[in-house]
Symmetry: C2
Subunit: 193 residues, 2 copies
């Protein structure tokens, strides 16, 4: 997605060897117009896939996922990382290690929102080590739902995530793919969309 | 906002004495069409207020805030609750006790995204004890930003939040206001919009 690649080039910052910071338009401050373009791009790709739900993990995935869901005219579900007093239903859970937070959390979705009649599009902001995506895949399989694909805004192609997801038989579709970093510059691989 | 009030009546669940669970359309599963109506409603109210940023706290506030920001054509910022390796800038922080999570977290916004030139609209999903709103107000004041108002999707008017925010001189605008619960039914007060 050209608008996204340009934005990364303009506003992204490389930290160390393996972190891309995009806090000015995706992960802390959010550009809603860019989110709408992201929503439209994924929705066009999956328009004929029979998607019934869009699923993400809180919190940076919430806005991209909502825009995709709106374009597809389906609900969005964000998996939650911490228990609160309102989550008193039967929960589907998975342990997920966060690459940027360096901690493991239990992500959870209330079972009542998913069934074997669902065909789900997973959307997330980043794909790095794949743990978040795999956690969601496990939750969705436990619910009996079909998974149409994993839509990723920014994929770090030099990490294991894409391969791990594809091993499960689920396609990955990424709007920007990063082959690596070189002296603070982002080296892009060819994106899927 | 009539569509929101109807939705609460249809899908909201009262837990105990003081919790309203709206997990099927706002706080876990999200209805993007309703979020768009929420965005339009707040944006109409603040269309002439010179808003430069919409600010919320992750995660249930993210989608409503993004839709408001999109309608106002400004960026959205979501305050973050947990440190991650990309947050290496100067941070503005506040301690916030969550009514539903029953824990205190440090919420943080990177200082670089706010200045004395900003006029901010705070948006959040719930107003209960007011701690989240007050935390954001303190962060924004520290940044030197003006605050146009606090826009709330669901206000629990029988709790102290609204009064605490109004004491700071900042107006509260709520789309649904709950006077209380009676035998599992929601009793509504008149909303602001």
């Amino acid at each position: 997605m050209e608008a996204l690649v340009s934005r990364i080039k303009r506003d992204g910052t490389v930290l160390g060897d393996d972190i891309l910071k995009v806090d000015s338009f995706l992960t802390h401050q959010v550009d809603p117009k860019l989110m709408r373009q992201i929503g439209q791009t994924f929705a066009q790709k999956f328009a004929d896939s029979g998607i019934t739900k869009v699923v993400t993990i809180e919190a940076s995935g919430n806005v991209p996922a909502a825009y995709v869901a709106e374009e597809l005219d389906v609900p969005m579900i964000f998996a939650k990382k911490a228990k609160n007093v309102t989550m008193n239903d039967e929960l589907l859970t998975a342990e997920v290690y966060s690459f940027t937070k360096k901690i493991t959390s239990t992500v959870q979705i209330s079972r009542k929102f998913l069934s074997e009649n669902d065909k789900v599009l997973i959307i997330d902001d980043f794909l790095a080590n794949g743990q978040a995506a795999l956690g969601l895949i496990n939750i969705l399989k436990e619910a009996g739902a079909q998974i149409a694909g994993v839509g990723i805004v920014i994929e770090k192609s030099f990490q294991t995530g894409r391969a791990l997801v594809e091993e499960t038989g689920i396609p990955v579709v990424s709007l920007a793919r990063i082959a690596g970093f070189d002296q603070g510059q982002v080296i892009f691989a060819e994106a899927d969309l």
